[in-house]
Each structure stands twice: as C-alpha cells, then as structure tokens.
Symmetry: C2
Subunit: 271 residues, 2 copies
Amino acid sequence: MELFYSAHFQGNNCYLEGDEALHCTRVLRHKIGDTIYIMDGQGSLYECVLTEISRGEAKAEIINATPGWGAHSYNLTLAVCPTKNNERFEWFVEKAVELGVDRIVPLIGDHSERKVYKTDRAKRIALSAAKQSLKAAIPDIAEPVSVRDFIRSSANGLRMIAYCFDGERPRLSVKEALASATPAAPQGASGIITPGVQQDASEISTPGIMQEHGALPDITILIGPEGDFSPEEAALALEAGFLPIHLGPSRLRTETAALAAVTAVYLHFLQ
Amino acid sequence: MELFYSAHFQGNNCYLEGDEALHCTRVLRHKIGDTIYIMDGQGSLYECVLTEISRGEAKAEIINATPGWGAHSYNLTLAVCPTKNNERFEWFVEKAVELGVDRIVPLIGDHSERKVYKTDRAKRIALSAAKQSLKAAIPDIAEPVSVRDFIRSSANGLRMIAYCFDGERPRLSVKEALASATPAAPQGASGIITPGVQQDASEISTPGIMQEHGALPDITILIGPEGDFSPEEAALALEAGFLPIHLGPSRLRTETAALAAVTAVYLHFLQ
C-alpha cells in the first residue's frame, strides 16, 4: 500500500503538490480515475480518486476518511540530546516513528557536543517513516530547546529521566515506571483508535496531538547526550517531578537508549 | 573505560596484536606499567598490566579475571534475513549487540532480495559494539544459511517466528510469548552472571555461549526479509515447533522488527 501526503484540503478535494504529485503521477504513473490513499499528517487517512493531473499538481476527490489511522493508545514525547554524529540521531527518528512516537524534542544539554540542531532533515525522515510504516500522523519534530527550558516547560503526565545517579538514588526500570500507565482508548490490531477529547492539555502537547489522540496517557522520557545530563540538570528534573529511571544493565549509546525507551512504551501498550 | 580485545592468551599473559596493540600503545599512548582491561570475546574481562611493548604487539600480565562480564541471563539467537540495504542490517547488528544478543544468523529466504551475505563487516561491527557497550563476549555472527536449513537445524528452547499469517492463525505477541521464559542465573546491576553448566546443548548454541552462559533459557526468533517469509517457510517453521508471534500493530522494517524483538527480550529479563 502506497501512501501520499497532503496538507492541502479544500471541501471534498485534496491536492498533491511537489514531490508527492510527481511521485504519484510520474513515478507510479497513476492516472485519472485511480484510487489513491492520502494522509494529512494529522492522523487521518483519505481514500481518494484522482480527478485532475496538471503540471506539478494532482487533484483527488475524497471518497472515505479514517481518523486515527495507524495511531497508538498513548501520547509519547521523547526529549533527546542529538548525537554528535547526526546520522545516529536521524536513524533514531526513523525507528521511533516506525514504532510509534508523537513528539521528538531535540535537547541541548550542558554536556551536549552538539549545541545546534537543524530540524529540516529530521522532519523529512519523520514524514517518510510515517508513510512507510502506515501511520497517518507525522510526529512533531520540535525546535531544539535547552534541557533546563524543556524541564521547566514540561507539565503533567508520566515523566521520566534516564540518568545514572551512581546508586545514590533508587531508580525504577523503565518497565516498572510504565506499570502505572494504562491505555485510554481501545486499540485494535490495526492500531486504529477512537478519537476522544483531550482532558489534560499539557504544555508540551501540540494541538495536532491533542485532537488526534484524545485523552491518552501523556508519557515523556528524557535521554541525555553522550556525556549524560549534568548533575544540575538531573537535579532540576527531579525537583520538577521527573521519575528517575534506568534502561537496564547494558551501556547504551544515546540513540540506542532513546529507541529502547520508545520500544519499552510500545511493548507496554501491546494488546 | 577503554576495552581491548585479545584472542591470544598464554599462561598468565595476554597479547594485544594488530590494531588493538596500535590503538593501545600509539593512539591512547599506554606505557609499560599501565593498567588496561582486555576482553577475550568469550565473556571474560581481564585486568592487566602492560609489561612489554614491541612493534605491533603489546604484552600484558593478567592481574584479575572476571568471567561473564557484561553478560545477560538468557541465550538469544536472532535469525534475520539481511536487508537489501546492507547498512540497515549492520545498524541492527550494532544495536542488537549493545542491548544483548548471543548469536545473529543471516538467513536467506525464498523472498530475500539479498541471496549472498558476507559476514566480515558485521563481525567487526559486533566486536566494536561489544567493546563500546562493555560486554566481554562478542556475539557470534554465523555464516548465512537458508531459512529451511536453519529451521531444520534448530533444536530446543523457546523458538518464535514473526510472520503475518493474515489472521488465519492466532498469534501471541512477542511479549506474551516471552512470559514463559525465566532467567536461570541471578543478574546484578553490573550485568555479571554466575557461570553455570549448560544442560540443554541445543545445536544452535556455540561452545563459547555454552561455557559462558550456563543453563540459560535458549530463545530463538526468526525475522523475515522485506518480502516476508514464503508460506512454505512459515509452515515449515510451525511444523518444527516455532511459535507464531506478532510484534504489534506497527508495520516495521526488517531491521526494526529484529531490534524490537531483541529489545523485547532485553526488557523481559530486566531485573
């Protein structure tokens, strides 16, 4: 199944532009009358019929709409310090989207080797991974923010920080920490959920996620840079109510730790 | 902590050769009398003191040995069809080693786009990932084998095949399938386990794993190629006693599915 992406909807019509139009009409040679599937990036899938093909644009009529297509029964924010090697972080973005994440926030920490992060490539990767893994919602790739500002702006929900406190402080495993989180909406094998109403509008949720996910458990996990969080950052997170967690005995690279956390959430909610 | 690898042990001495010697003496500038840590790739860590440095070789005296260093309390074999894009499979190898795997078997299936696979690069990646993630055992990268031959040669333990049976057949989630597996040896936060005696010598375990891991639960998971297993291959696996499992609602790429399976095992045994 081939998915196309469009942000341009008008009445009962939907328009493919740029690469999406090119890919549909030139590469895959779709013709007028063909049924195609278009996702709006907000969580809805549209079954459409191609009605017009012009230079660099394709118009399609919406036959059927499925909200929450390929959605999951939680609202997951991964706040991760981008790795020095950009490819490793971009790899994480692709895999996290495949498994299911709602928001990725690039963090700049005291020990970050990468103090600047451009989100354009990660956004493109998130789009193609969402299409490839049949999810109609494109996870939000936030603009970079400092660890301190992210912690200060974070609100409710189950919030965790993976940090090595050198045994000073007891930590739960990510598995134990997730035990309290329960899905809000029934989820079928297709992963389709019934849209609801957001009850807890946390500052770190985007409107898109709020509309899409309804009253889903908000989960936020902080993963530090290669040099880990600074003790000050970790202390600030604990003061702010973040749960100190560990990801098990293995020493994991930043991007591996981040994906292990995403997978732990994915498996926790597995029906 | 910097780990070096050596397969050359003699009495109470250990020899670093080639790149390992170069890295130790030229790059990191270690001098005679320095304490260094050497892993044998079989699961043991040796605290050593450099006693001789010659052109292209370094000799070290063993002060202390720790068996099962960085080991885990299960014996996991991932049998995966290498992806068309080799980088994706090599990425999986690195991440699987970081999390904990004992054997990776490249499978050639009926629908494999890649019919030939050379293991030399994957072996180098497994070594460096083992060193990076502080594990003294280098997982075995087996020579490629056909799906049919692997299934026929597979023996006891918990064996699963991730395959889409189109709902014809009820499947457990990987999480449910793992519920029956329990660790054999106590595992501390350091991940060190007490060596035991292998009771069930399954054909798919290597002698190295048998010595290192003792009576650990043998777990084998089959992951198909981009085109999935053929119905004949899947049927053969079921006849051979493989448990049909699913990895959840998301459509995952081959390497993502394989890593999700490794992570599910890792999290299942998390203390």
